[in-house]
């Protein structure tokens, strides 16, 4: 890649990271909440 780690490239990498981070965070929260509906 030509301009790796240029400010634009870094900004792109960071925003991609943020999106994935929120996605994982959401999955974690879902898993946590799902537990309370556990029936036996």
């Amino acid at each position: 890649m030509e301009n790796a780690f240029s400010p634009e490239d870094l900004a792109r990498r960071r925003s991609r990271s943020k999106r994935l981070a929120w996605l994982i965070g959401g999955a974690v929260l879902l898993l946590y909440i799902a537990g309370f509906f556990l029936k036996r």
Binding site: M1, A4, F5, S6, P7, L10, R13, R14, R16, S17, K18, L20, A21, I24, G25, A27, V28, L29, L31, Y32, G35, F36, L38, R40
Partner: protein, 531 residues
């Protein structure tokens, strides 16, 4: 060239506060890594002091020093401190320091999240240990006394120490989840051009699997202890048999987290080993691909074997058989790793600097953990060994000889890179031999005690166990005090010493050795060229 990519060698191209504010507000992966490691070392000694008090009580039969209630509190908080406040933060410190250097990234992907993840730890550690202090002033009846496993119904009935521990575990869990998210997105998005996943250093691979395991299992632990909290204070009956709940459900939920947790503690170390072994054998790592697939296999298997911890709690026979064989099957990918470690050293030009000594000590002693694990995985045999000192010995071969000695390996291996100075080899070797001898002196007797029927988590015991317990206590004190050599060696190395080059060890390969020692404040502002 614009100022944004000026550098390397100009650590002051940005303004940041000095003193305490620097550490409170830092978003630099190396500063944060240093804080994690320092915190872990401090908590290692806190947890160590607790267990030395326990061993002192067990030196002789009879009650000498403390009440049984206090004894139970020390054992439980020792484990929680060692697992959540020493081993896990140490591994996260390694990740922060090394993953950006190794994958050619300028920093972690989400630096502010990184700062936050660390600063949740000290309050959590204070919450965990505060009930001890409060009890001194007559408030409450001390810390959590259920052991680290929180089993209901004891934890439903316990004093306010349980509430403190529940809150602390929530905070520690949030911190770990934030750290894991950061590591995953960093590895996925911040690699230098050309650093493909199958070129990723094994240390980063080990951590990647660890991070996924944390994300899959910590919410379950958090859920379980939240349910415990509502049982205690808000009238629910998840785990209360009298109200139609099921205490065994808690055990399943806990171990669904608890078993993967032991691999969480070890995968970063397994990732580190091939680097050290290859460096000091002056040979490339043997079986890179096999090791990556073994990590993945172990990660997957680790979430489907949890009930081997509760064979004796009662379950249908097909379930017993399933959990026995699935547990045993983990030893297959584990054996692949052992094979690769040995093959990496095979016919190499080996030298035995301190990190290499600890790595070899790790392989031998951790092997004993695996072998005794197989013994415990046998349903028929476990009926006798469960809740005995045999289990305690087994998991200390895993968590001290595997986890802690692995972390020590990493510290000696990377300390010169971090500080720019060489540590004292003489003290390092002394530390190694004292640690290995004292460790075995402490824990070999515990295998025999367990086989002879001594239960774990009791402050007093029958007379026939006296000799082995005395030996174990002597070993534990030597083991504890020899760690002071480690701390002293680190201290001196941070303060000064012989300067080292970028490639600290002649056989070392990898991007991290191409940056100066210590590396510049911003790691890879210009991406490295990857062959």
């Amino acid at each position: 060239m614009s100022t944004a990519i000026a550098h390397p060698g100009n650590p002051h191209d940005e303004h940041y506060p000095g003193g305490l504010m620097r550490w409170l507000t830092t978003t630099n992966h190396k500063d944060i890594g240093t804080m994690y490691l320092t915190f872990a070392l401090m908590m290692f000694f806190v947890g160590g002091l607790m267990i030395l008090a326990v061993r002192a009580e067990l030196f002789q039969p009879g009650l000498q020093l403390m009440k049984p209630e206090f004894f139970n509190q020390l054992i439980g908080v020792h484990a929680l401190v060692m697992i959540f406040a020493a081993l896990m933060p140490a591994a996260t410190g390694f990740a922060n320091w090394m993953i950006p250097l190794m994958i050619g990234a300028p920093d972690m992907a989400l630096p502010r999240l990184n700062n936050w993840g660390f600063w949740l730890l000290p309050p959590a550690a204070i919450l965990l240990t505060m009930p001890f202090t409060l009890a001194l002033f007559g408030i409450g009846d001390g810390a959590i006394a259920t052991g680290w496993t929180f089993y209901a119904p004891l934890s439903v009935q316990g004093g306010m120490g349980v509430d403190f521990a529940i809150l602390a575990v929530h905070i520690l869990g949030i911190s770990s989840i934030m750290g894991s998210i950061n590591i995953i997105v960093t590895i996925f998005n911040m690699r230098a051009p050309g650093m493909t996943m199958m070129k990723l250093p094994l240390f980063a691979w080990g951590w990647l699997i660890t991070a996924f395991l944390l994300i899959a299992t910590l919410p379950v632990l958090a859920g379980a202890v939240t349910m415990l909290l509502t049982d205690r204070h808000f009238g629910t009956h998840f785990f209360n048999a009298a109200g139609g709940g099921d205490p065994i459900l808690f055990q399943h939920l806990f171990w669904f987290f608890g078993h993967p947790e032991v691999y969480i503690l070890l995968l970063p170390v397994w990732g580190l080993m091939p680097h050290v072994l290859s460096t000091f054998s002056r040979k490339p790592t043997y079986g890179y691909t096999a090791q990556v697939y073994s990590f993945i296999a172990i990660g997957v298997l680790s979430v489907v074997v949890w009930a081997h911890h509760i064979f004796t709690s009662g379950m249908p026979i097909p379930a017993l058989v399933y959990f026995m064989f699935s547990t045993m099957s983990i030893s297959i990918p584990l054996a692949v790793l052992f094979f690769c470690w040995i093959a990496t050293m095979w016919r190499g030009a080996m030298t035995f600097e301190t990190p290499m000594l600890f790595a070899i000590g790790f392989i031998v002693l951790f092997g004993i953990a695996g072998l005794t694990g197989l013994v415990l995985a046998d349903v028929a045999a476990d009926a006798q060994y469960h809740h005995s000192y045999f289990v305690v010995a087994h998991f200390h071969y895993a968590l001290f000889a595997g986890g802690i000695m692995g972390v020590i390996t990493g510290v000696y291996y990377w300390l010169p890179k971090w500080t720019g100075h060489m540590y004292s080899e003489k003290l390092g070797k002394l530390h190694f031999w004292l640690t290995v001898i004292a460790f075995n002196l402490t824990f070999i007797p515990q295998f025999f005690l367990g086989l002879a029927g001594m239960p774990r988590r009791i402050p007093d015991y029958a007379l026939q166990f006296a000799e082995f317990n005395a030996i174990s206590t002597i070993g534990a004190f030597i083991l504890g005090f020899s760690q002071l050599i480690f701390a002293y060696n680190i201290w001196c190395c941070v303060r000064g010493g012989t300067k080292v080059e970028a490639r600290v060890w002649e056989g070392a390969e990898g991007l991290e050795w191409e940056l100066s020692s210590p590396p510049p404040h911003h790691s890879w502002e210009i991406p490295p060229v990857i062959r």
